[in-house]
């Protein structure tokens, strides 16, 4: 342990880290909002954002302004919040399952949430973002419950957990297709890609606020169990012998994960692999202890999904790719790399 650094340096470091990450987040968000077709210059982007944030700048023409403020800004922010939520879920699931490959998409939770959301849409049960999120939550919990039921009470090996998750994910993806194609109208059927692959194209301010609130509360809840998650490194029995309330911590972790995944999926569909790529990259930077890994992964997830979505909507412009395509193209090699590393050990 290096305890040589002075007290003021110890205090200064987290402050510097916080200010630094805030600047990076702001810069990436600005780049994401400013990038794209329509010949909107960087200064016009800055003017539009500035005007809406109450700065004394001349407002833009309404049309250009609405592209920046009504389409791109919520899209970038939703990408940030969804990315933060999904990356955090990956960290937590990896800790409680003690499995480096666990994340909401690979465990089928995202697919279950999609099915739930689609059912709410098609049956017209309630309306609006909240009931959609409620349906997604029910579906996500159903998928999660099914995975746990199939695994049984024994502590499952890594491979079995992921295989079970993939199979359950396939089941719910099929159910989503069935509901949309069998009972939905043509409009709903066009949403198939959205619910199965995930896309940020439909981002608007209300879903940004809903996601931001839920992810924010989740991060605070997870901060409370961060040191407990560290203790899971050597299994539940060792964690219990260290005074960790294992059942309660598991419950907080799993419920938080299910709620965050559900709300994110109800806003952007099932975007995969964020919870796999980001925590692994971030661990290499800040180490495996959760009081640093959780906030750092949230920031990393936000940056990653903002960049991935910017690539998705500009790479083949004027065509737009769903963000989930980009994350999957990056995620599959990452998955194979992690699997390979585990097997070598």
């Amino acid at each position: 342990m290096t305890m040589s650094s002075s007290r003021s340096a110890e205090l200064a470091r987290p402050i510097a880290a916080t200010v630094g990450t805030a600047l990076v987040l702001a810069a990436v968000a600005f780049a994401a909002v400013g990038t794209g077709g329509g010949d909107i210059t960087w200064s016009e982007t800055a003017r539009s954002l500035g005007a809406h944030l109450g700065l004394p700048v001349a407002p833009l023409p309404a049309l250009v302004d609405s592209v920046v403020w009504e389409l791109r800004a919520p899209r970038a922010l939703l990408a940030a919040v969804a990315g933060a939520g999904l990356a955090t879920c990956g960290v937590v699931l990896q800790a409680v399952t003690r499995n480096a490959l666990a994340e909401p998409y690979l465990l089928g939770i995202s697919s279950g949430a999609s099915t739930g959301a689609v059912l709410v849409l098609v049956t017209g049960l309630g309306s609006g973002a909240v009931s959609l999120a409620g349906g997604a939550l029910a579906g996500g919990l159903a998928a999660f419950g099914l995975v746990l039921l199939l695994l049984g009470p024994s502590t499952a090996g890594a491979n079995r957990l992921v295989l079970t998750g993939v199979v359950v994910g396939q089941l719910f993806a099929a159910l989503t297709s069935l509901v949309l194609l069998g009972w939905g109208d043509a409009d709903a059927a066009r949403g198939l890609t959205y619910w199965l692959t995930g896309s940020l194209a439909a981002a608007r301010w209300p879903s940004v606020l809903l996601c931001a609130t839920v992810v924010g509360v989740a991060l605070l809840a997870l901060r409370l169990i961060a040191s407990d998650l560290d203790a899971f490194a050597f299994g539940a029995r060792t964690a219990a012998s260290l005074g960790v309330p294992v059942a309660a911590v598991r419950a907080v972790a799993l419920v938080t994960t299910a709620v965050v995944t559900a709300v994110v999926v109800s806003s952007v569909g099932a975007i995969g692999f964020v919870g796999l790529i980001v925590p692994h990259a971030v661990r290499a930077l800040v180490g495996p202890l959760h009081h640093r890994l959780l906030p750092a992964s949230a920031v990393g997830g936000a940056v990653f999904l903002m960049l991935a979505d910017t690539v998705a909507r500009t790479a083949l412009a004027p065509k737009q790719l769903p963000a989930g395509v980009v994350t999957a193209l990056l995620g599959v090699p990452a998955f194979l790399l992690i699997l390979h590393r585990r097997e070598r050990q």
């Binding site: 040191s227 490194a233 050597f234 060792t238 219990a240 260290l242 309330p245």
Partner: protein
């Protein structure tokens, strides 16, 4: 590890751990794994749990640790039912070192040892100077000072065992429960770890496979056989050629030289 330097941390008073009528069953097995086992490990002694595979040693250790609930039966610390203590106080009193503790998480040695401070810290509180001192002391006891920044993945099996021992010592417990801690250790480190345990002054309960090590380092032994206590008492009273024949199925010479007991296994009973 230098035997003799080990001493219980300030303010730690060894306590007696005991169990009465401990019975543990698992579904699908008619015979209980533990069948009405009575058990006492006196304060400050090293008590060895020995017995053939499947005799219930690890289950008894987990029952003492509180991670397996006996039905019926009760575990007591100095006469007080263990289960009545708050969770964190239990973790400050009894530390457990599991067999084959492994992790996918690539923690640094310092991080693993610091886990032992969790029951002493507030949930959100960072590690303080007391925690750092306890960790440093524990690492020193197992002879791993200077390895703080090494990663779990780079450690040998024996080093991992010693890091886990340091983690358990960093808990500053009154009772230390260990499940075959000498697994993976080379001969030198087996002896170093056990002589360290013997000099801590803590109440130690240790599952051992190696009868020679049990004879050498345990003050008392409990012999388990098919889920029951076959014999319990001072090592030289318990570890007899007769016990070795009936419980372990081996012919053995047991001899006493000065203060130490020697066990030499000659062959299986059938030979």
């Amino acid at each position: 590890m230098s035997p003799g330097t080990a001493a219980p941390a300030r303010g730690v008073r060894p306590v007696e751990i005991s169990g009465q009528g401990l019975t543990v069953r698992v579904r699908g097995r008619t015979a209980p794994i533990l069948d009405d086992v009575g058990f006492t490990a006196p304060a400050g002694c090293v008590t060895g749990l020995i017995g053939p595979n499947g005799s219930g040693k690890s289950t008894l250790l987990h029952t003492l640790a509180g991670s397996t609930s006996p039905q019926p039966g009760v575990v007591r610390l100095d006469g007080r039912p263990f289960g009545e203590l708050p969770r964190r106080e239990r973790a400050r009193t009894v530390a457990v070192m599991e067999q084959n503790s492994d992790s996918d998480t690539d923690l640094a040695v310092a991080d693993v040892v610091a886990l032992g401070r969790l029951p002493h810290r507030g949930r959100m509180a960072p590690a303080g100077p007391q925690d750092a001192a306890a960790c440093a002391r524990a690492l020193d006891l197992v002879g791993l000072t200077g390895t703080e920044q090494r990663r779990w993945r780079t450690l040998s099996g024996g080093e991992r065992q010693r890091v886990q021992a340091a983690r358990a010592l960093a808990q500053e417990p009154a009772v230390l429960l260990l499940d075959e801690p000498t697994n993976h250790l080379d001969v030198q480190h087996q002896h170093e770890l056990l002589s360290l345990l013997a000099t801590t002054g803590l109440t130690v309960v240790v599952v051992l496979h190696d009868l020679a090590l049990a004879a050498r380092y345990c003050d008392r032994l409990v012999v388990l056989h098919e889920g029951r206590t076959h014999a319990a008492g001072r090592t030289h009273e318990v570890l007899t050629a007769d016990t070795l024949r009936t419980v372990f199925g081996v012919r053995a010479d047991v001899s006493r030289h000065a203060d130490t007991l020697r066990v030499e296994v000659l062959g299986s009973v059938g030979d």
